[in-house]
């Protein structure tokens, strides 16, 4: 069915798996897809897939993808009428959004004012609190810098110090003992200064063993807002998500309804336009507080797509095209259970340090209910230039235990040789009784370091590996072929 789009070509200002993901929907809808790419990504799947690919440069590969002026020029060069920013990079950059709109192109996202409001944690929190939604006890430095330390004390321990301009866990510090409060504040300030060019801080009560539950929302430019249910993202390492699922195993039907309606209410108060995610911190007692709102497509959006049948990129494009949502809250339902696994090039046994290397062999998993969103191909190379997430495995099952069973099979089927990944670790994680019971929290992996540790190999596994390696190593095979084994030779005579 041909629709009248206000744009015919969409440029994706991103890379890796999300560029592929966005292009897939763009092209399925009969639109042309363009990408920008740094030379380091020359052979990436998104570049091969796009109708137009424009090379961009920068002092580092990441800098190229952050260069809004260059990307906008590329969009105009290929006649793109809209820019999809993906996640990360320029997706929550109000200045870029304004520049795109000033040049008459459509930014597939919220308004710049909404980006600014939700991008500043302090403003966002104040906004949510004033709108009557729950926020955790806190102290904001900007309210009165001279009394900040004292007000931080009043918040009570344990508390969390965060940079006001932050994100992704950078610069965050937990304080359990008030005697180190001032030292930790200074550390957080210097990290905030360095990462975000902004040393302002805020402090909030730290919820012990909390869950991270977030809600997908969609808002159009006509004032309609719906939620598309929640995702639980409690399994994290270094404040970054590894496994995300929906529905959350922590929620009763009543709580689920309440947290989802709260999210929709927050988005509605902001007049929110685009796909967005309202994140909550969820305590063991069922209490939940607003954490932040991400004004973009989320890495973990596929689990929502798999259980609701909604293509969120399609919805983003329709909203950006000025259409109404065209469905009501009651038209959205969620079926079954979906889990996403972030496949990272990293070594969990060495503190999750990133790994690099060539992708010599890649056999993605296949099968019923298995989705593989990837930005790498066999023959490619994982370098230190970008984030170590190289792919996402999403599995869907009729219920949670069915999804876990499929996930174990799919992870075992995933063959990626040449660069160490976390797939074996993920299998150990989902076999853990606490995960099976759905009883996890954001500190779960820190509290259970044995999951990340490389297990000792049983002798039969070690022997199989040494046999495979020996028989694949030329000097060993040649040496063996040159000198027949005497015992074997004797054995042959006897026969």
């Amino acid at each position: 069915m041909a629709r009248n789009w206000p744009f015919q070509t969409v440029l994706v200002a991103n890379r890796g798996e999300i560029a592929v993901r966005v292009l897939r929907t763009v092209q399925t809808l009969g639109l042309k897809g363009a990408v920008v790419y740094h030379a380091a990504d020359r052979n990436a799947p998104a570049v091969r897939m796009a109708d137009h690919a424009v090379e961009i440069t920068g002092s580092t590969p990441v800098a190229a993808y952050l260069d809004g002026a260059q990307i906008l020029a590329a969009a105009k060069a290929v006649g793109a009428g809209a820019i999809h920013p993906g996640y990360g990079f320029l997706s929550e950059n109000a200045g870029f959004c304004r520049a795109v709109e000033a040049d008459g192109l459509v930014f597939i996202g919220p308004t710049p004012e909404q980006i600014e409001l939700m991008g500043d944690k302090v403003r966002a929190r104040t906004f949510v609190e004033k709108a009557g939604f729950p926020v955790a006890p806190s102290a904001i430095e900007d309210d009165d810098p001279s009394t900040f330390v004292e007000r931080a004390r009043q918040v009570g321990t344990p508390l969390l110090i965060k940079p006001s301009a932050g994100g992704g866990g950078k610069g965050m510090r937990i304080v359990r003992d008030l005697s180190v409060l001032e030292t930790e504040i200074e550390r957080a300030r210097s990290e905030g200064q360095r990462y975000f060019g902004d040393g302002r801080l805020y402090v909030e009560r730290y919820i012990e063993n909390p869950r991270h539950i977030e809600v997908q929302v969609l808002g159009d430019s006509h004032g309609n807002v719906v939620h598309v249910f929640e995702r639980e993202c409690s399994v994290q390492r270094r404040f970054q998500k590894i496994v995300e699922e929906t529905p959350s195993p922590a929620l009763t039907w009543e709580l689920r309804n309440r947290i989802c309606e709260t999210a929709a209410g927050i988005a509605r108060s902001a007049g929110y336009r685009n796909a967005g995610t309202v994140e909550f911190i969820f305590g063991q007692g069922g209490e939940f507080y607003f954490l932040e709102m991400n004004t973009r497509l989320q890495v973990e959006h596929p689990v929502t797509e798999e259980t609701t049948g909604k293509d969120l990129v399609h919805e983003q494009l329709r909203i950006a095209g000025g259409e109404e949502l065209g469905f009501a809250q009651t038209d959205i339902s969620s079926q079954g259970h979906a889990i996403e696994f972030r496949i990272y090039a990293e070594d969990p046994g060495r503190g999750y340090t990133p790994t690099t290397g060539p992708i010599l062999t890649l056999h993605p998993p296949t099968g019923e209910g298995v989705r593989w969103d990837s930005g790498v191909v066999q023959g490619g190379e994982v370098t230190a230039a970008f984030d170590p997430m190289i792919a996402k495995l999403i599995v869907r099952g009729s219920d949670r235990s069915d999804a876990i069973a499929r996930a174990d099979l799919a992870l075992a089927q995933t063959v990626l040789l040449g660069c160490k990944t976390n797939t074996a670790f993920l299998r150990r994680l989902i076999a853990h009784p606490a995960f099976v019971a759905g009883d996890v929290h954001t500190g779960f992996l820190d509290a259970n370091p044995q999951i990340a540790a490389d297990p000792e190999l049983p002798p039969e596994t070690l022997h199989a590996l040494l046999a495979a390696a020996s028989l694949s190593t030329r000097p060993m095979r040649d040496a063996a072929d040159a000198v027949p084994d005497l015992h074997a030779a004797i054995g042959e005579w006897r026969n």
Binding site: T60, G168, G169, K170, Y195, R238, G349, R350, Y352, T353, P354, T355, T356, P358, L360, T361, H363, T383, A384, A385, L411, A412, Q413, V415, L416, L417, G418, K420, T421, T423, A424, R427, D454, P459, E460, T461, L462, H463, A464, L465, L466, A467, A468, A469, S470, L471, S472, T473, P475, M476, R477, A479, A480, D481, V483, P484, D485, H487, A488, G491
Partner: protein
């Protein structure tokens, strides 16, 4: 002849010999008849005595990557000559190598500078966290290989250290 593979931090000595139509692997006290039949796509059948297992193998230089029972492993063939050289000694501390991939945040010393054990040489960033690399011993900085802002892979030589007095 003795050969060895490194798997994780452990080194394993092995010997391989011909045995009738197949091979015999000597590892520790075990003697196992082994064979490997490989298809063009890298999938292979490994035979160990009576056991047959499907594996996927990829090689690159001295590295052998094996996917076995749903998990991937990396082994590195240790050349007999290199092992001899390593045993003979040689300044393991002369090169400061990157413990993980990342980028340089700050270079605290210049070539020719005398440093004492524990002194900060470089500050690097990886995984959104800073790591400080310190001098493993007293010495003199022979060369700083990277500048602030440059990125590097794991095991890259970041700085050379030599003994002696400052230039």
């Amino acid at each position: 002849m003795h050969h060895a593979f490194k798997l994780g931090d452990a080194e394993h000595n092995v010997e391989l010999a011909r045995a009738r139509a197949t091979y015999r692997l000597h590892v520790g006290d075990a003697r196992i008849d082994v064979d490997l039949k490989t298809a063009p796509d890298g999938r292979a059948w490994l035979t160990l005595g009576e056991r047959h297992v499907e594996v996927v193998i990829a090689t690159r230089g001295d590295e052998v990557f094996v996917h076995l029972d749903g998990e991937a492993y990396a082994l590195r063939y240790e050349h007999p000559l290199d092992r001899l050289a390593a045993k003979a000694g040689g300044g393991a501390n002369d090169q400061i190598r990157a413990p993980m991939p990342g980028s340089i945040v700050n270079v605290a010393v210049a070539a020719g500078a005398a440093v004492t054990k524990g002194q900060t040489l470089l500050v690097m960033e990886s995984m959104k966290m800073e790591t400080t690399l310190v001098a493993p011993r007293d010495g003199v900085v022979a060369a700083v290989r990277f500048e602030k802002g440059q990125t590097f892979e794991r095991d890259a030589v970041l700085l050379d250290l030599e003994s002696g007095s400052p230039a």
